[in-house]
Amino acid sequence: MSTQAVSRTHGDQMITTIPTIHLAAPMPGFPAHTRFALVRLNDEGLLYAFTSLDNPELRFLVVPPDPFFENYTPEIPDESLALLGYPEAEDVITMLVITAGKEATAANLMAPIVINTVNRMALQVVLAGTEMPVRAILNKK
């Protein structure tokens, strides 16, 4: 069983800050970091910082998928939904980790960060078995 999770970051639903988020499992590569904060960085709500509370020097830039990838509505695997506490679809925020390169900015569509806004549990969900790219061009310089 899978549930469609759609991020809601438009209009009056635009989130500003979630001060404490607990990762149900650490992000690959960063096993020591399980508490994060999500902070909006620009007025349009297009860019957010996902900053470790365990060591604020670790931060990721994340974006809501909707403005950039119109048809991105990944199915969240049931094991991941269980770790998130089986959120209702409207309580879920999806964010994409982006990497600023010299020539382009890329977004990770294969492993979105999915946040349950009610219990503030989050997970970098791995959409294994899909053809989602780890580095999709977000914009070019």
């Binding site: 590569g29 790219p133 580095r135 999709a136 914009n139």
Partner: protein, 86 residues
């Protein structure tokens, strides 16, 4: 590395609650069944390594990069299909 020989249908236990069962061996393809608690995340190694590398590359951009992106990042005027540049 510990090396064990197992036949189809036989299992290996890792710790108290992870069981890996050889389901089928056909040529150089081995099918495994994995039983693990929910909080034990199971990934194909190459997928996990790729994500690890991608996360490390994405981690901790400089303030200059963050400032520039927060000023300049805009959605595409014509929404594009996701592009793969692997």
């Amino acid at each position: 590395m510990l090396v064990l020989t197992r036949r189809a249908g036989e299992s290996v236990m890792i710790g108290d609650d992870v069981v890996i069962t050889v389901l089928e061996a056909r040529g150089d393809v081995i099918r495994l069944g994995i039983q693990a608690p929910r909080d034990v995340r199971v990934h194909r190694e190459e997928v996990y390594r790729e994500l690890q590398a991608a996360n490390r590359e994405a981690a901790s951009p400089t303030d200059a990069v963050v400032d520039e992106l927060s000023r300049t990042l805009r959605p595409p005027s014509e929404p594009d299909a996701p592009q793969d540049n692997r």
